[in-house]
């Protein structure tokens, strides 16, 4: 399988701080990758580099091209939603559909129309008259109608209520993702996208903290709900994180044999959010 994105030694400096500190990663075709990190970790900078919106050092290859020098070429195959606010507020729904249809060679109007017909969005409305949720639906309709190879979503559901967020990702997964397209998504609401992700990329202080498929995460990391009387033994195995919850102690282990852990309590797979917290704490030390 070919790599859609390949980054080597990707670095971005703002003055003396490094937003990206020489990161390397590869994203193959057909994946849904969650790019996850705390505020200021470099997520948006990384996405902007991928989209050719910012200068960088190191090498970056998107669809076989240099996104900074050949941005306009890669945008034939790449779509992105930066966040809900970016649709121009003065434009009418019909106008924006017509415009994208006229300027994007891969836009399929019937797909967009079909999706819009399932919403309450009126064609004659201006974007500024729509609710936040409707703007996101409109943007999603536009983007989903584009037969792109790579879809980049930067906090696409920011400011939406939980129902809207759920609907957004469901639509994305059911109506858009076909196993060949690739989606790169950043969000703070990790728990809402974890079931749709195939791969995880944790980033902190401009460096990659975890680069793994969800399957490997399940193999490598384990969460143990420790039986109270075995806490000391469990601690001796060197958990990467410990947290208290509802009268029980939970520990997250990396590369620790499951049968060993099984004796000390109930073993499960940590949620992405818990794993994220665990690795970020570890990274801080």
């Amino acid at each position: 399988m070919s790599n859609l994105i390949e980054a080597r030694g990707l670095t971005k400096r703002f003055g003396s701080t490094r937003a990206l500190d020489g990161i390397s990663f590869a994203i193959p075709e057909g994946k849904i990758v969650g790019l996850i990190g705390p505020n200021g970790a470099g997520k948006t900078t990384a996405l902007k580099a991928v989209l050719g919106l910012t200068r960088f050092e190191g090498s970056l290859n998107v669809l076989g091209r240099d996104p900074y020098r050949q941005r306009h070429e890669i945008m034939q195959d790449v779509c992105f939603i930066a966040d809900v606010a970016v649709l121009p507020r003065w434009i009418r729904v019909q106008q924006v559909v017509d415009f994208v249809a006229a300027t994007h060679p891969r836009f399929r109007r019937e797909v967009c129309d079909q999706f819009l017909s399932r919403t309450d969005i009126k064609r004659t409305s201006r974007v500024r008259e729509l609710s936040k949720g409707m703007i996101t639906q409109l943007h999603l309709a536009l983007v989903m109608a584009i037969d792109a190879k790579l879809l980049v979503l930067d906090e696409p559901t920011l400011g939406l209520d939980i129902l809207m967020r759920k609907q957004f990702y469901e639509t994305l997964l059911n109506d858009y993702f076909d196993g060949q397209r690739t989606i790169l998504v950043t969000t703070h609401q990790v728990e809402e996208i974890e079931h749709i992700l195939t791969d995880l990329l944790f980033i902190n202080h401009g460096r990659i903290v975890l680069d793994s498929s969800m399957d490997d995460v399940a193999l490598r990391y384990a969460q143990l709900a420790v039986r109270p009387d075995r806490a000391e033994e469990a601690r001796a195995l060197g958990p990467i994180a410990v947290r208290q919850g509802l009268g029980r102690t939970y520990m997250i282990f990396a590369d620790t044999p499951r049968d060993e852990l099984g004796k000390l309590g109930d073993v499960g797979v940590p949620s992405v959010a818990d794993l994220f917290v665990a690795l970020m704490q570890g990274d801080r030390k």
Binding site: T54, V86, T103
Partner: protein, 321 residues
């Protein structure tokens, strides 16, 4: 419709003033024509003012005592009748040219505001990221905006000017006919023709002579972190002041004055400006003369450089930091 045409069309969606303003001006002219006041209003003259080189004969107009002595109020049609026949055409041509002048001042202001806003508005509301998510090059985007400002707006202004002149001609001839005058005066081909030619000439001047100004405003619009107006206006002012202080010379301000002043020389011969008559001029040779003048050609070179800079800034500016 081509992609480029769509890019230009999009500008008219966003900047509706471009077509609303001339529509409003035409609407006002039409309103004036319907109410009968558009063919010049009343003219107040001192009792001893001459029209067309002769004193106003007694019995014309109404005498009324004003603060500064006796004043006569003449109806416009009446005044026109008093003008010697050989000068009427010139006077009417000036009126038609003035309609074009008003239209170009209105649309010129809109073009100025538009150019400053064109590459700034979408950065302000962050929709620039949406436009940049489409497979459109920044060169196309900037050139489309330049074409709106330098081509579409002048063409629209010329068309609206001619429409306005026709409204005046219609209203004027009706009024003349009602007051027993010669209605055909308004429709003399050379008069109507010179009004239209003046409008076309102004459009050509806007497109070519002012091309570097348009490109400069677009560059300011692409560049300005905030307030493109100040970014556009302050540097030239500061530069001419610095020159004055440092060298005591004023080449910069002379240059600016030269560029900002419209080369309307083809329209008005010097001695005719005073008497208010339009010089009959040949549109084709007027345009040709303008286009081959060094000022225009150098300006176009400057416009190309400024546009290239605007495209570069639009392309490589980091939008969201």
């Amino acid at each position: 419709m081509s992609r480029f045409a769509w890019l230009m069309r999009r500008e008219f969606w966003e900047h509706r003033a471009i077509w609303i303003a001339p529509a409003v001006v035409l609407g006002l002219l039409l309103l004036g024509a319907v109410t009968g006041n558009v063919f010049m209003g009343e003219i107040r003259i001192d009792a001893d003012t001459e029209i067309g080189g002769a004193p106003v004969p007694a019995g014309h107009g109404q005498e009324s005592a004003g603060a500064e002595g006796s004043v006569r109020v003449l109806g416009a049609g009446e005044a026109l009748e008093l003008v010697p026949p050989e000068k009427r055409e010139g006077l009417l041509a000036v009126i038609y040219a003035a309609v074009a002048g008003v239209m170009f001042v209105v649309l010129g202001s809109i073009g100025f505001v538009y150019s400053l806003d064109a590459l700034y508005a979408d950065r302000r509301d962050r929709s620039v990221l949406f436009w940049k998510s489409l497979p459109l090059s920044d060169t196309e985007t900037v050139l489309a905006k330049f074409c709106v400002a330098a081509v579409a707006i002048p063409v629209l202004a010329a068309a609206a000017s001619i429409a306005g002149q026709l409204i005046i001609a219609t209203g004027g001839s009706v009024k003349l006919a009602l007051t027993g005058g010669d209605a055909s005066l308004m429709w003399l081909p050379q008069v109507i023709g010179s009004g239209a030619a003046a409008a076309v000439m102004m459009a050509v001047i806007c497109a070519f002579w002012y091309a570097p100004v348009t490109a400069y405003l677009l560059l300011a619009s692409a560049w300005a972190p905030k307030s493109p107006f100040l970014w556009a206006v302050l540097p030239p002012i500061a530069l001419s002041m610095l020159e004055k202080i440092a060298f005591g010379s004023s080449h910069v301000s002379a240059f600016l004055k030269d560029r900002m002043g419209a080369p309307l020389g083809a329209l008005f011969a010097d001695d005719n400006v005073k008497s208010g008559a339009l010089q009959p001029f040949d549109l084709a040779s007027g345009i040709a003369e303008l286009l081959v003048s060094p000022g225009t050609l150098l300006g176009l070179v400057g416009a190309a450089a400024l546009l290239a800079a605007a495209i570069w800034v639009r392309r490589y500016r980091d939008e969201t930091t």
